[in-house]
């Protein structure tokens, strides 16, 4: 029976790995490395790369600037409705991105909830780069805020109290104690959110459309290219896989940093295991 159990679990593992790796291997087998660089030199790809980097950078900066203080507040205060607030923050996680796109359109679109006000101010959001930024920020924010709340909650409350008894006001406590100690966790959450933002597709295509050079991000370019120039679509896919691997490595590094910053014993630099 033991031998059978071992064989079954090993077979399951093999199936899982084969299934997860096959598409990735397929992309790299179809695109030789030299062609990959050439395909990335293509106009569509270059435009999409610029749009993706620009919108992701702006959206991510906004998520960090607003999400960090919000997460600090949620982690440090006990108030009525805190549980509801934490659940609400996670709502975009369980929503299909298409629903997020429709929702954003209904709120910020020309005929949406704030449409008249925005029109009066001469601001149009739907199908512009601003729309891409909003869509990306909407879907990636729960990844960051959730991780940031956990990172701030992990900071020993007595350290913050100690800083206050040493004369530090709330800003100094946040900047000198809470942020450095939560840093590794915040970094991990930030990397995860960035990855989600870069890959955002459904909300963007509904709320911002897919205009080359304006709102067409890398994932949208894959969709636009896969029936016209499959090699370009594959090349962008390969690029994503490399970025994804980079982010996974980054997460491991942050995980290690977090361990190192909490552990009372510094791991010896020379030991490797």
């Amino acid at each position: 029976m033991r031998a059978l159990f071992g064989a079954v679990t090993a077979a399951a593992l093999a199936v899982v790995f084969a299934f997860l790796l096959l598409p990735i291997v397929a992309i790299f087998l179809r695109v030789p490395f030299g062609d990959l660089l050439a395909a990335l030199g293509n106009d569509v790809t270059r435009d999409a790369l610029v749009v993706s980097l620009k919108t992701s950078a702006i959206a991510h900066a906004a998520v960090l600037v607003f999400g960090t203080p919000a997460a600090y507040f949620l982690a440090r205060h006990r108030f009525r409705g805190r549980g509801a607030a934490l659940t609400l923050v996670e709502l975009p996680l369980v929503l299909p991105p298409a629903v997020a796109g429709i929702g954003l359109l209904a709120a910020f679109g020309r005929l949406g909830l704030l449409g008249d006000e925005l029109n009066a101010l001469g601001i149009q959001i739907g199908f512009t780069q601003t729309a891409v930024v909003l869509a990306v920020a909407f879907v990636e924010s729960p990844f960051y805020v959730r991780g940031a709340v956990a990172a701030f909650e992990a900071v020993d409350g007595n350290l913050l109290a100690a800083a206050r008894t040493l004369g530090a006001g709330p800003w100094r406590v946040l900047l000198r104690v809470a942020l450095p100690l939560a840093g590794a966790g915040l970094g991990a959450a930030s990397a995860l959110a960035l990855a989600r933002g870069l890959g955002e597709f459904g909300a963007t295509i509904i709320f911002a459309g897919s205009l080359q050079g304006v709102t067409q991000t890398l994932p949208l370019a894959i969709y636009a290219q896969f029936d016209q120039n499959f090699d370009v679509a594959l090349a962008i896919g390969a690029l994503f896989i490399l970025v994804g691997l980079g982010i996974l490595v980054l997460l491991k590094v942050f995980g290690w940093l977090r361990f190192a910053s909490i552990s009372p014993f510094r791991p010896a630099a020379s030991t490797s295991s």
Binding site: D156, N158, A161, A162, T165, G167, G169, S261, P264, R266
Partner: protein
């Protein structure tokens, strides 16, 4: 002369802690079992917990009353946290100067100058305690609050660190309030000791006063005494006879009638293999539960009470668990507290 005065009611999960105290240039220890509300008092004084009502004043400055509630950073306090709460990401020097003032010889005074560039994770318990003290004192506070300052130390270093801390606090001459669950630490460090239980101050006095005349059974058992329950009645020749709940009868010089707590310190109990013929009136035969050596003394726990004798006596009698011995103590060694 600097002083801290407060009269507070601070809510905890299960009860309100009510405490009024004036601390001059001295060290006052609040002792009591864990959960007695000791740490709550310190946190309220520091502004980290909000009292339900009351008043806190340091010299002429009001920190808290009906209208005033200064934030922690506005109160002139040095707070040494339980487990010290040193910033793990900062060096010793940066921990100490976190408050914005130079360390000005504090590192030298506390013998941690050579550790200035070390991180807290690399320090021993005693060193961490000294860093925490230096950090708390760097802002030149008017009041020093210490939460279980000996709590994070291992038993080996405890005695020597206690001696150093005592000398240091004595030199400082700052109103100091410390919290501990250990009566010995309190007796070694503090000028006065307040025993806190269930949020109430049971007694406030010097260690000698608490040992000599404990106000009730909580204070007595906290000070390390045996507390036996019994019923007292008047006996001939001006003595009191107490029938213990365990069945034995003993005689006490104190006067009392009715339900009593019998308070008897372990060092007033002598042990023998047979009942001796001496001036002690009380002899109780009992079984040894455990024999533990504490420095040059041996603590022998019997079923009903605990005795403390010298190592030489314990060796001579070859005491071991399970053995039956006779515990003897004088009628004058007993304090009787009427049970209310």
């Amino acid at each position: 002369m600097a002083s801290l005065r407060f009269d507070l009611a601070v809510p905890t999960r299960s009860f309100d802690v009510e405490l009024a105290l004036e601390v001059g240039a001295e060290t006052v220890a609040l002792v009591g079992p864990s959960g007695a509300g000791k740490t709550t008092v310190l946190r309220a004084l520091a502004g980290l917990a909000r009292p339900a009502r009351g008043r806190i004043a340091c010299d002429e400055k009001v920190w808290f009353d009906g209208d005033v509630n200064l934030r922690p950073e506005q109160r002139s306090i040095g707070f040494v946290f339980q487990d010290y709460a040193l910033f793990p990401h900062l060096t010793v020097e940066r921990n100490v100067t976190f408050g914005g003032r130079a360390a000005d010889g504090l590192l030298e005074r506390l013998r941690i100058a050579h550790l200035a560039q070390a991180k807290p994770g690399d320090l021993s318990g005693g060193e961490r305690q000294r860093v925490a003290l230096a950090r708390a004192l760097a802002r030149r506070p008017s009041v020093l609050l210490l939460d279980e300052p000996m709590g994070a130390l291992d038993p080996h270093t405890r005695a020597s660190v206690r001696g150093e801390l005592h000398d240091f606090l004595r030199e400082l001459r700052l109103p100091t309030l410390l919290v501990t669950h250990d009566f010995e630490d309190a007796a070694a460090l503090a000028d006065r000791i307040g025993v806190l239980s269930n949020g109430r101050l049971r007694q406030l006095g010097t260690a000698a006063e608490l040992l000599g005349a404990p106000a009730d059974e909580v204070v007595a058992s906290f000070a390390g005494a045996n507390v036996l329950r019994g019923t007292a009645a008047v006996a001939p020749s001006a003595l009191t006879v107490v029938r213990l709940d365990g069945g034995a009868t003993i005689y006490a010089a104190d006067e009392a009638v009715g339900e009593v707590d019998v308070v008897l310190y372990p060092w007033d109990v002598s042990l023998g293999l047979t009942a001796p013929d001496d001036s002690a009136l009380n002899h109780l035969a009992d079984d040894i539960v455990s024999v533990a050596r504490l420095g040059n003394r041996v603590r022998v726990r019997l079923r009903a009470l605990t005795a403390e004798i010298t190592v030489a006596s314990a060796d001579r009698l070859a005491l071991e668990p399970g053995q039956r011995v006779v515990a003897s103590f004088k009628a004058t060694a007993i304090r009787l507290l009427a049970r209310t």
